[in-house]
């Protein structure tokens, strides 16, 4: 199932002007890489996007048909659905610099 984890969403968040970021993390089960990726992503978001993001974790083992939509090959993959344009980062997100580039967070940070 698609697990929507409204992670770390403070009460003040809905009042903020910009739309929240929508991030989708594709994983295959609870592998080390999956867990690491989720942890890394959360950490990054907490620092950079606190209160303005939403992470959806998609387990492809449960919903394999969803791999087609975002053209997922590599796992883990993070897809930034919003804001546009869609951006994709693959890997366990342990390389923070590349993650920032991938999410295009350099400007805001």
């Amino acid at each position: 199932m698609m697990k929507s984890q409204r992670t770390s969403r403070p009460a003040a968040a809905p009042a903020r002007a910009p739309k929240p970021w929508q991030l989708r993390l594709y994983v295959t089960g609870q592998t080390l890489k999956s867990v690491t990726a989720l942890a890394n992503l959360r950490q990054m978001c907490e620092i950079r996007l606190k209160g303005r993001y939403r992470i959806t974790v998609v387990d492809l083992l449960e919903k394999p048909q969803l791999a087609k939509g975002d053209q997922i090959l590599a796992v883990p993959t993070v897809v930034r659905k919003l804001p546009r344009p869609v951006r994709t980062i693959i890997g366990d997100l342990s390389d923070t610099a590349h993650l920032l580039v991938g999410l295009d967070l350099r400007a805001t940070g």
């Binding site: 594709y26 295959t28 592998t31 890489k33 690491t36 990726a37 890394n40 492809l60 083992l61 394999p64 048909q65 791999a67 087609k68 053209q71 997922i72 090959l73 590599a74 796992v75 883990p76 993959t77 951006r87 994709t88 980062i89 693959i90 890997g91 366990d92 997100l93 342990s94 390389d95 923070t96 590349h98 993650l99 580039v101 991938g102």
Partner: protein
Amino acid sequence: MKTSRAKSPARATLLPKCPTGIQGLDEITDGGLPRGRPTLVCGGAGCGKTLLAAEFLVRGAMQFDEPGVFIAFEETEKELKANVASLGFDLAGLVRRKKIVVDYVHIERGDAQESGEYDLEGLFVRLNHAIDSIGAKRVVLDTLEVLFASLPNEAILRSELRRLFRWLKDKGVTAVITAERGRESLTRHGLEEYVSDCVIVLDHRVNDQIATRHLRVVKYRGALHGTNEFPFLIGEDGISVLPITSLALNHVASSERIATGIPRLDAMLGGRGFFRGSSILLTGTSGTGKTIISSNFAQAAGRRGERVLYFSFEESPNQITRNMHSIGLRLEPLMKRGLLRIHSARPSLYGLEMHLATMFKEIATFKPHVVIIDPITSLMDLGTDSEGKGMVTRLIDYLKAGQITSFFTSLTQGGKAPQESEAAMSSLMDSWILLQDFEGNGERNRVLYVLKARGMKHSNQIREFLISDHGIDVVDAYIGASGVLTGSARAAQNALEKAAVLAGQQEAAQLVREVERKRAALERQISSLRADHKTEAAELRRIAEQVGTSTRLLGTERAASGILRQADANVAAGARGKARPGRSK
């Protein structure tokens, strides 16, 4: 697992095979691709990798009830459907009936940012999902190498590919993986390293402005396979790999004889014509009547109720029927009754292999008893000598296997010995008839003779053949001291001979008269000599009488004078007087 093509129990214990259903490929690989293993198909751009893979899936789904998954990295589902639709495959329909799943994997180059470790589990999941959704037995990955462009980390990619092929084997699916041909290695990214069971190389070459595709099974672990390069083509109904070579000479030889349509020619061939299922070569320079003899043969077969397939590379069907009409040969009725089909194509229309494939297809659909190829030399000119010979060999093998009589005409160039120019082909032919024209007396005449006819008594005579309003007529050519004479020279020679006989008769009469005259002359001479002799004898008698008379006279004279001179002188004077009668005077 068992192969559907296993012909003997012994073979079933060998590597199980998965028939592709692609014409010719299963023959070359002796049954198909290795079942449950990946096969690598590599080749340059435009050589038909994707089509081969697609046909493998489509035929699998249609003919062998093996559903398939097509993972397309290069073409979208829509494009793919359109592309294979041009080969007459209803991919869309198969997708609707859940026989085939097409999954288009789109990855933009440099689209994804890499951050840390990852694997290609997503691809595995998709593949697995697709396979399980329809219970697929076949998988195509076209073209995996796109991954090398989009995923920068080659180390990860390589280890994942290795895992992928392992996984495919474990899954038990027969997979076809396509890859671009590399400069030095078989594939650009060395995929052959991972797929070690079967490697097929496709190639597209241009020779003399005619492009030909070739297929070669480079490797087939644990199985016999043809290692040659086989031409293949992409036709209206998919790929056909040529040849459908019979690797052995084991066709049945019929002893049935079929007439040529020209009675005298039959007579020259032991009186009964050609063997059914044999190959016949008719050689001649241009205008010697090859097409006419071919058409005659076609008509004769049609009249026996046999189907004739006539491949013409020089004339259109209409032109042939019109021309034959002019010599009283009507082909239209046979065409109308479906006994004769004329297939015309310009030789340069496409390559040798395409021609061959078209011919095979026509033969397969029309199922003729007799196939005429007029002329085979136009086709052979398209390729090199060895290709041409290879083609004829394949064609003859194919026809002989089906007990189809093949009749080839061959255009030879003037001045060249026909035996020499056709040396390559002649060994493949069972019968060989030569047409020649003789020039002389301001005219050109056709002659024909049987150069060889395997397994039958045949005439060694050169015959003249005449083409008139009512067809072909073979007549004896004049063979005499001054060589072979034909046409008006033959007529003239006949006249000449008649004159010579007449002259001889006259000469003989003359001779008789001469002898007679001589005899008469001789007789005249004899009688004149006799007359002479008579005269002389008469003269002699006269002289003798004269001498007698004078002697007598002398005696009487002397006696008289003795009387006159005294009788006493009688004794002495008688002796003297006798000795010197003249002195006494």
